[in-house]
Amino acid sequence: MAVKKQNSKKAGRTVTEDVLLDVKNLRVEFKMKNGVVRAVDDISYQVRKGEFLAVVGESGCGKSVSALSLMRLLPEKAATITADHILFDGIDISSIPMSEMRKLRGRRISMIFQEPMTSLNPVLTIGDQICEPLITHLGMSEEQAEVRAIELMAMVGIPEPKNRLPQYPHQFSGGMRQRVMIAIGLACEPDLIIADEPTTALDVTIQAQILELLKDISQRLGIAVIMITHNLGVVAAYADNVNVMYAAQIIEKGTASDIFANPAHPYSIGLLRSVPRMDKPRGGRLATIDGLPPNLMNPPSGCRFYARCPMAQESCAKTDQSLQETKGSEMHQTACYFSEKALKEGALIYETDVSVQGSSTVDKSGEPLLSVSSLRQEFSVSFRTGWFSSYNGSVKAVDDVSFDIYPGETVGLVGESGCGKTSVGRAILHLNDPTSGKIAFDNLSINKKSIALVRQDMQVIFQDPFSSLNPRMTIGEILEEPLKVHNIESDPEKRLQRISELLVKVGLYPYMSDRYPHELSGGQRQRVGIARALSMEPKLIICDEPVSALDVSVQAQIINLLEDLQRELGIAYLFIAHDLAVVKHISHKVVVMYLGQIMEVGEGDQLYGEPKHPYTQALLDAAPIPDPEIERKRKRSILKGELPSPINPPNGCVFSTRCPKVVAACTSGRPELLRVGTEHMASCVLLDER
């Protein structure tokens, strides 16, 4: 923490001698089949020695491209990079020959990529890959390089580095591979590390481990970090300074506290307001930024945010905006004429419908709509060992899970990958036949056969908006199919009418019914998915990660839509997600799962406010909150270790291998789910003793 403050003080100075990187008017253009896309449009910024800079923005805003262009890693044929200069420690890396650039790569500037699973070469050993930069740049012998590689692996927290050196990437987990990537990046003790969404593919507890490691090491060694991310929580927790990008331009930059406490660009304000917050009580609509970012092939003149901006004036569309100093802080710059007004009014510029503030309440006096008890789902794992022989075993994806959903209630199901949350949803829908357990829907016991009776009342929305719609059918055909098959509306005229109504209901236009899925954006496709579920007028919709593939502003639109529909139609949701803040925002009740079992169940505010289970506590600790002030004060304990293999789960409490409060009793038997409050239950041995 001490170092951090020092850093932000340093960042506040305008002295130029400690500038490490000075980017002036960087522009990247891609030649496409039907035109030129300017993916990065004249951006300028500086990075000081030892600074932690975050570049934040939604997908397609040019943040990754701008980072790759610093390393000149874009395909030379397709991408044209121009800049007044990109000075790295006095060297203009935009004009030096490639052979000189190569000498800098991995030596003075390193890069860590998003996908740890594919970023390492599968046919070379880990040792080989860590040694490579050492041998290339520092001229070490293989023996020297190996000694150093072992040191590096120990430094990034890989256990038994000596034994793991001759292993191959496929023998490492995702988190461990990302540690290897960091070790490679650190190998030559560079001055700058560029991390491109380094934790996006990882679970939240692993994300916290990796980011802490990156922060800790970069501070200790005085390495500057440029981190590209879309996660505002991560930015708040780790960054000294922030660049906000929109449609290929930097629209606001400043210190983290400037951006989070006093955002002055309407886009930044909207972005911050559209993220659900774990630390705020449930209820209220999220602010949304309407519409979609402009097409960069043909960007509009003037301010690029004009079409979506709530405070846009006609003049905004006419003149380009450039970064101007914003009142209050000399570091803070905003590309908006009306930044002063935005700064003053803040969130007020986004109208939120006051009439729908406050959460809907659930009437629990009657029978539950869905009642799941002792649900188990086992999958046989088998792989071929011969022509007709194979190994057979089983994985308990869901192990004795029980919960109820009342009409009009949203139950959030949260956990890391492999915890079985998706399997629960699929078992309820009988997309997989559950191994055992009881599922009752509307007082009807559901099995393989009776599920057919309630199919219409129980619908589903999937995560991936790209593959959840049949690419060969138009939107109209997709929505018409269930109406026709189930003979809900036999008159074709009325069917069309109904489809139009559905489209309007989910915020689309009726004319879109003759479009094919690939002609819509991700958010629009997700709306079609919701419309398809709604067409049956269901009582329950199982939402399997419905917003995790979407950008923050679109995510907010979809969450609001789901909430509006619930209020209007009284639909119940089983909301499966890994994002704790989203689950908190939307759910009345939250179920936390780990390795197929329920760790804790509770009403949202209570469970997040006073978690009883150490795993819930750890999950909450790992998830950063998009507010640097809170993050600075937060004391967090980072969960150690990795998720055990579900093929061979730990004895007793499944969490015992990673639990910071583990005692002897934990391994002796599976703890019961104990009531700790009116609606609050947790399964932990420690609660039993109390």
Binding site: K103, R105, S110, F113, E115, T118, P122, V123, E132, W387
Partner: protein, 318 residues
């Protein structure tokens, strides 16, 4: 690795068994009476007694299971029965010719690999340029031009320039390697064009695929020399599918030589194959099909072992 290799080698036996059963069934059960086909095909009217006698002599009147049993216990000893035409053991007929075909196949493989690697690599590295287009047209041509016709063109070319037919495979490589090579280079070229085209196309697409992988970007970001990026990080991964194609094509070559050997009048198993069909010598045909399939099984084994050596993900499979 050892575990994988052992398991893979053990897998050969049930495969061979299944192949043998399939070949037996197809050639014995499906076609009806092979003796009748054979004898009537030779022309003239054949009496039922004659057919009966012939059937008895060849052991075809035995119940099917007994025939199968005889056939199956003969196989491990290399007993493939007797040719219906020459009355010599099928194994001898094949044995005396297989060396030539094998040599031709190996020679074509060497030629093909020598041609394919530079073509495929250049085409991938200069993707979208004129060079790439030219190579792509050449290689698409390779799978379009019938190899037997290419052989005829080569013969025509030889006649025009040397005034005589190239001498054909009559000299053993052990007696006079140079003459032998000179004799076989023509048929090897005519098969090798197609072979090299298939391999070059595979190599091109797998290099392109590998070069767009994330780990190539990682290697570049490490500051590794570009040449090393392509050779150490790229080629090794691109080789994996290419090795499979080389192996598959080699195994299929033994069948593909059928036509080429006829053009060059080479006395290999390909020509024997055609002869066996023309003469309705189903015993010989059965032996040949079995031989070709066995070669395929073994080449496949070698490919899989090679693959494991190149790819740790397979090597470490439990």
């Amino acid at each position: 690795m050892l575990q994988y290799a052992l398991r893979r080698i053990l897998l050969v036996f049930p495969t061979l068994f299944a192949v043998a059963v399939l070949v037996f069934l197809v050639l014995r059960v499906v076609p009806g009476d092979i003796v009748e086909i054979k004898m009537t095909a030779e022309g003239g009217i054949v009496s039922q007694e004659e057919i009966e006698r012939e059937r008895e002599r060849l052991g075809l009147n035995e119940p099917l299971y007994k025939q199968f049993f005889t056939y199956m216990i003969g196989l491990p000893r290399g007993d493939l029965g007797v040719s219906l035409w020459t009355e010599r053991p099928v194994s001898q007929e094949i044995g005396s010719r297989i060396a030539l075909s094998f040599e031709l196949a190996i020679l074509s493989t060497i030629l093909a690999v020598l041609i394919a690697f530079p073509l495929g690599t250049l085409s991938a590295l200069y993707r979208g340029t004129v060079l790439d287009y030219v190579i792509r047209i050449i290689t698409i041509g390779g799978i379009a031009v019938p190899s037997f016709w290419l052989g005829m063109l080569l013969i025509m070319f030889a006649i025009t320039f040397f005034g005589k037919l190239p001498p054909l495979g009559t000299v053993s490589i052990f007696d006079d390697p140079l003459t032998n090579l000179y004799q076989l280079i023509w048929p090897a070229l005519s098969v090798g064009y197609r072979y090299s085209s298939v391999v070059a196309r595979m190599l091109r697409s797998s290099i392109l695929e590998v070069l767009s992988e994330d780990y190539i970007r990682t290697a570049r970001a490490k500051g590794v020399f570009e040449r090393l990026v392509i050779v150490k990080h790229g080629m090794r991964n691109a080789l994996l599918p290419t090795v499979t194609v080389i192996g598959l094509e080699f195994a299929f070559l033994l069948g593909g030589l059928v036509v080429t050997e006829s053009v060059f009048n080479l006395n290999g198993i390909g020509k024997l194959f055609v002869d066996s069909v023309v003469r309705n010598d189903l015993n010989l045909l059965q032996g040949l099909v079995l031989t070709v399939a066995t070669c395929f099984v073994f080449v496949n084994l070698i490919v899989d072992l090679l693959y494991a050596a190149l790819d740790p993900r397979i090597r470490y499979q439990k």
